[in-house]
C-alpha cells in the first residue's frame, strides 16, 4: 500500500530524469580530476546508486546537485589516492618504472587548438581554484551550490574564481593578447 500518493515508478522516473540531466556534467567533472574515462563513468554511477540508497537521509535544505558534485569529487579524489598508492607499490617493485611524459596521440593531435591549451592551463591551477572554476563554469552550479559542494563560503568560491581567472588571463595574454579584446 502506498499512502504517500507517489508510486514507486514515478519516483524512479524522476530519479532517471535527474540521472540523465546530470550525468554528463558529473562525468566531465570526474574526468577532470581523474583523467580516466572508465573510472569516471564507474564512480558517477556509484554515486547515483548511493544517492538512491540514502534518499531518506538527504538534508532537505541542501541542494541535491551540490551534493552530487560533492560526492563525485570525494570519489574522484579517493580514486586518485588509490591509484597513487598502486603506482608507489609498482615503483617499489621495479625501481625504474618508465614514467612516460609523452602525451597520447589524441592529445598531441588536438594540442594545437586553443581549447586544449586552456584545458591544460586549467589543469595547472591550484586545486581549489580549479574546482571553483569547474563547478561554476562547466558544472553549471551556482555560487551557493559550488560553495556547498566545496564546503566553503560563497565569498571564498568567488575569491578562488577570481584568482583562477587572473592566472588564466596571464596565460591567454602571453599566448595571444587579441583573444581578450572585446
Amino acid at each position: 500500500m502506498n499512502w504517500s500518493g507517489d508510486s514507486p515508478a514515478a519516483v524512479r522516473d524522476a530519479f532517471e530524469r535527474l540521472f540523465r540531466a546530470e550525468y554528463e556534467a558529473l562525468y566531465r567533472y570526474a574526468f577532470f580530476i581523474t583523467g580516466n574515462g572508465p573510472a569516471s563513468d564507474d564512480l558517477v554511477q556509484d554515486v547515483f546508486v548511493r544517492l538512491w540508497e540514502m534518499q531518506d537521509a538527504i538534508d532537505e535544505d541542501k541542494s541535491v546537485r551540490a551534493l552530487l558534485f560533492l560526492m563525485v569529487r570525494n570519489e574522484a579524489y579517493n580514486y586518485n589516492r588509490t591509484q597513487r598508492r598502486r603506482a608507489e607499490l609498482l615503483r617499489e617493485e621495479s625501481d625504474h618504472l618508465p614514467v612516460s611524459s609523452a602525451p597520447s596521440p589524441d592529445i598531441q593531435l588536438a594540442a594545437a587548438h586553443l581549447g586544449i591549451r586552456i584545458r591544460r592551463w586549467i589543469s595547472l591551477l591550484p586545486e581549489r581554484q580549479r574546482e571553483a572554476l569547474l563547478l561554476t563554469r562547466y558544472g553549471g552550479l551556482s555560487h551557493r551550490e559550488a560553495a556547498e559542494a566545496m564546503g566553503i563560503s560563497s565569498r571564498t568560491v568567488n575569491n578562488h574564481l577570481v584568482r583562477a581567472l587572473e592566472a588564466l588571463r596571464d596565460r591567454i595574454r602571453a599566448y595571444d593578447p587579441d583573444l581578450l579584446n572585446p
Binding site: 514507486p8 540531466a21 546530470e22 574515462g37 541542494s63 541535491v64 584545458r119 563554469r137 595574454r173
Partner: protein
Amino acid sequence: MSDAPERDHAPDGGALPEALRARLDEEAPADRAALGAVWHLLGEPGHADAPVPDVDRAWAAVEARLARPPAQPSRRPRSSRGAARPARRLGRWTAAAAAALVVGFVVWWSRPVDLRVAPGARLATTLPDGSAVTLVGGSELRYRRGFSLLPGVLGRDRHVALRGEAFFEVVPGARPFVVETFDAYVEVLGTRFEVQAWDEPSLHATQVVLASGAVRLSAKAEGGAPVVLREGGHRAQTVRGQAAAMPEAAPFDVARAWQSAGFYAANQPLEAILLRLEQRYGERLVLSTGAAAGAALTLYYPEAVPLETILEDICTARGLGYRPVRGGYEIVDRQPD
C-alpha cells in the same frame, strides 16, 4: 527546497554569474573587462571536452543496481514532516532534474558539432548557413551548432575548425566564413576552395587551393603577412608557421577532382602523399625504402580510382615496388626478378 532552478550560473558564454560580477566590480576597470573576457572565452566550445560515454548505457547499469525505493516507513514517522517524505522524494528528484535540464540544454548547445570521418570514408554535408563541405577519410570538422553562441545569438563569424582535407562551397553571407586549422586561418566571403591541414610529421602545413572567389590565409603565429588568393587554381600554404603564396598555380581542376572523389597532389613529398592516401582509403601504407624519401610528386586523378592504381603509378614513376601486407601495402625497392 533549495534546489529549484537558479539563474546565476552561466555555462554558456552568456552573462557572468551575479556574484562574480559583483566581486569583479571591486577590481580596476581594465582588470574587470579582461577577467570577464576570460570567463566568456572559457565558455567557447571544446574547452571542457572529454568523450562522454553513452548515457543510456550508463543509466541501464545504474538502474540494474537500484534496490526498490526504501519501503514505506519501516520506522515510525517521527513527525508530520517525516510522514510527508515520500512525496518530497519525488518532488526532490523532479526539481533537481528541472534545474539541471536548463543547464544541460545550454551545455549541449554550447558543445560543438564534431564531424569525424572514418579513414576510407567520405562525407558531404551542409553547414548551418547552407554552405557545402566535403570531407575525406580521417578528417575532422568542428563548428558551433547553428553557427551561434546560443540559440538566437550569432557569433562574430561562421567558424569551423578543420583537421584533414576538405572542399568548401561557401554561400555568400554578411558574416565572414573562417576555417581554423592547427596553424592558420582561412577567411572567405563566398567562394569554393580546398583546405589541407594535417599536423603530422610527414605533412605539417595548411594548404589552400582556390577554385573560385577569394580567400585569405593568415598564420596563427605572429610576424608574417596574410596571403590573399583571388584567382582560381592559385595556392597558398603555411611554411614554418607563416603564410606564403605558392609560385605556380595548381595544374588541374581541383573542384572537379572533389566533385568526383578524385585525387591529386601538386608537387608533394612522397611521405605526405602516402599519409593522405592512408587516411583517404583507410589502408596502412608503409614506406620501407629510403630511396624515394623527400622526392616530390605531382599526381592528378579527376575521377575516383582504386588505391592500387595510384600506388602502381607512384612506383612506376619512382622505380619502386609495392606488395600487400596486413592492413595495407608496403612500398619497397623494386625487386630484381
